[in-house]
């Protein structure tokens, strides 16, 4: 049985390559059929805003990578309710459909369920 990995993504999409590189770990794990979870926490929730205009900040759109997650077999997708609320992000209209919205308590239990955790 392969070890499971939870990636906690904490960076805004346009603050540097961090968010993209975090996502790359998840996609690579999915490509190897490994059990991977992805939690959007703190500024990471900004990655999930719909209708972003990446071109306006001369960046490449991250949403294509996000939408590739289910195709790579990554379906354990989570967002922190508190992080979203603190930033005025409405979890009803996020860019990914498969997200589960978790409370702080849920997140404690989530981290406990995974064998390994990377926070980026």
């Amino acid at each position: 049985m392969p070890k499971s990995l939870l990636l906690i993504s904490r960076q805004a999409p346009w603050s540097g390559p961090g968010a993209r590189e975090a996502l790359d770990i998840v996609l690579a794990g999915g490509a190897f059929d490994l059990p991977i979870g992805l939690l959007f926490l703190d500024d990471g929730v900004f990655q999930l805003l719909a209708g972003q205009n990446a071109k306006a900040v001369q960046q490449k759109d991250l949403s294509a990578n996000l939408h590739a997650l289910p195709m790579f077999g990554v379906e354990a997708l989570f967002v922190c309710a508190d992080s979203a609320a603190q930033r005025g992000v409405d979890t009803e209209v996020l860019a990914l459909d498969e997200l589960k919205v978790l409370s702080a308590q849920d997140i404690t239990a989530l981290i406990d369920r995974y064998d390994q955790v990377i926070t980026l």
Binding site: P2, K3, L5, R10, Q11, P17, G18, E21, D24, I25, A28, G29, F32, L34, Q116, V117, I118, T119, L120
Partner: protein, 140 residues
């Protein structure tokens, strides 16, 4: 720290480093790795990702009276014959190239040499599967 690690059985560690060579977390990563080996544990792989790739950069020049972390990493990995992997995509993005990649992209600067190997993220996942514990340094 080594004494603490000695308690219990021998562990296989995978170590991931995400911060640049001048970051305190990069120094902590090296100290942890040294303590792990000193405590009789095994390091299955070091994986340098994001700004962590700069720890493998032989182009880093440190004033003589300061600690030269890239040099210390190089000696540590060579002396202990460890598997030191630098993520190729993260390294290319940051201008940290080995001879093969410098040729491929027609760049004049070569800054990664043995004992480091440039490879892909599969090597991180492989190490995670192989290790008892993944220890990360310098993440967000």
């Amino acid at each position: 720290m080594a004494a603490v690690l000695l308690i219990g059985s021998v562990m296989k560690f995978a170590i991931a480093l995400f911060s640049a060579a001048h970051a305190p977390s990069s120094r902590r990563a090296l100290l942890f790795a040294q303590a792990a080996l000193a405590g009789g544990h095994e390091i299955v792989r070091l994986f340098f990702y994001q700004d962590g790739v700069h720890n493998a950069d032989s182009g880093v020049v440190i004033p003589q009276d300061e600690a030269d972390l890239p040099r210390q990493w190089r000696a540590f990995v060579s002396d202990n014959r460890l598997d030191g992997v630098v993520c190729i995509a993260a390294a290319l993005r940051r201008g940290v190239l080995n001879e093969e990649e410098a040729q491929r992209y027609q760049r004049s600067a070569i800054s990664v040499e043995a004992p480091w190997a440039l490879s892909g993220l599969g090597q991180l996942h492989d190490a995670i599967q192989d290790a008892d514990r993944l220890i990360c340094f310098g993440g967000a």
